[in-house]
């Protein structure tokens, strides 16, 4: 009986000992390297001795001969990781992803998530309980509109967030409200205001429990200075449930 208990205890504890610490933040962006493109990530880890958290050396997650942008690395509650990006192949850009099981070292082969239309860009992911919601800007012929898909046991069909219009709709970004509503915002052009403005929409989710308060205050988060200029960078906060990510886009500074 004692032996069985010990074996059970070891089996229970070993995975925990092996498990890596959840990073405070993960930044992903695209770099060019000898005429190829690569998605790289750097993790912000808590220091064990009570020192300031440290950004780790960037690691390459994916390479391609085609231009890529809008990279997003998401860890699900199961420990599975999903990496999303937009890739330009010839004159079209599509949404792609690949996955890595909990504790696995190898990624799956890249898979196209959405290749219809001429332009798909600006992938933005949100964990909603066990689901993953992915928003992006998509156009068939004219200017882009916002679409989304939900991954549960499989991927849902793509849905439109708003009716087609004659202005660009792009850069979707989603958060979860404390009561579990998906709060989506994106950039759209207003001819009335003669400027780009923020559009907003709330979408019901299937969550029936309150969403935990965030661990990290995203609004006060200090963006690290080593991030590249002239690139879109996504910073995700795996410990947050409401504000899960932010995007940084910097011109060259004086």
């Amino acid at each position: 009986m004692k032996t069985r208990f010990l074996i059970a205890l070891i089996l229970l504890v070993c995975p925990l000992l092996k498990a890596e610490a959840t990073p405070l933040a993960i930044a992903t962006w695209v770099e060019t390297e000898q005429n190829a493109f690569q998605i790289v990530a750097s993790q912000l880890l808590e220091a064990e001795n009570g020192d300031e958290p440290q950004w780790q050396a960037p690691a390459v997650l994916h390479r391609s001969e085609n231009a890529m942008t809008s990279s997003n690395l998401v860890a699900l509650a199961s420990g599975e990781q999903l990496l999303f990006w937009a890739e330009a192949i010839k004159s079209k850009s599509s949404i792609w992803y690949k996955s890595r099981a909990n504790q696995a070292s190898d990624w799956s082969e890249p898979l196209p998530l959405y290749r219809k239309g001429s332009e798909n860009i600006g992938a933005s992911a949100l964990r909603v309980g066990d689901q993953l919601w992915l928003f992006w800007a998509s156009s068939d012929e004219g200017l882009p509109d916002i679409k989304y898909m939900i991954r549960d046991s499989g991927w849902s069909k793509p849905q439109s967030v708003h009716a087609p219009n004659d202005v660009p709709d792009l850069h979707p970004s989603a958060t979860l409200s404390p009561n579990g509503e998906v709060q989506l915002s994106w950039l759209t052009y207003s001819f009335l205001q003669s400027d780009y403005v923020n559009a907003r929409k709330e979408i019901e989710s299937s969550l029936d429990t309150p969403v935990p308060v965030d661990i990290i205050d995203v609004d006060k988060f200090t963006v690290p200075s080593f991030l590249p200029s002239g690139r879109a960078v996504t910073i995700r906060f795996p410990k947050n449930s409401q504000h899960q990510s932010l995007k940084v886009a910097a011109a060259h500074s004086p």
């Binding site: 493109f37 231009a67 942008t69 970004s173 910097a250």
Partner: protein
Amino acid sequence: MKSKILVQLAGAVLLLSAACAEAKAEDPNVVAVFGDSTSLGFNTNFPGGGFRFGMGQLNFLPPSIELTKILNGSRRNSVVPNLGWGGTASGPAESRNNNNINGVDRISGNLSDVKRDNPGKAYYVLIMYGVNDFNFGIPASTTGFNNRLMIDRANAQGFTALVSSIIPCDICGNSASFVNTVNSSIRSNVQQRINAGADAYFVDNFAAVRPLWNPALPNSYVDPDGIHPTDEGYAVIARNWFSSRLEQLIEQDPLTITPIIGLLLDDD
């Protein structure tokens, strides 16, 4: 004799006052270059440091220097403020930091500053924007739309807008076919504004530099960094701006007339 001198003096005064009244006609044409690092003039010859914007400086970096030479060398008195800003996109990217500089947001303010600092007889802006857009998550169709907005904002400031295709950038996310998509979007949006009565023109700088856009070629137009034009590449672009449109739009200054006041005062 005295009366002759008086008549000559009166004539000289009249001529001088006429010259003073026409001083404004001698104000230069103001031709601002506006865009990202490929308008600024960045390449490996860039003079060090981290700063990558023009802030309206005259005779600053190859695009401004070359155009100033060409315009003034062809008797078109002109100044060329450099409004290039490295690493920027045509329109806003999603961002929570405050360094999201872009063409649509800054064009009105920048052109207003140029007008304040450079009294001119005519104003032109040479817009070349969009090579960084894909990296910021801005699709080709929106790049064209943003160029349309910049035309309207430039016209509202009293500037004639010359809008260029983007130049090749094989390693910054733009395959040849993707650049073609961006450029056809820019071209169709410029045409749409022209059809609506805007004061705008399309200039194809992509076609001007493409033949020697290969770092392996001698006299290549692309810098060893693989992204930006060489100094000669910038000179080619400047010549193309001029020969495509500026040469027709900006009239040559009249030939200088030998001062005649001295002749009038010559007592004989």
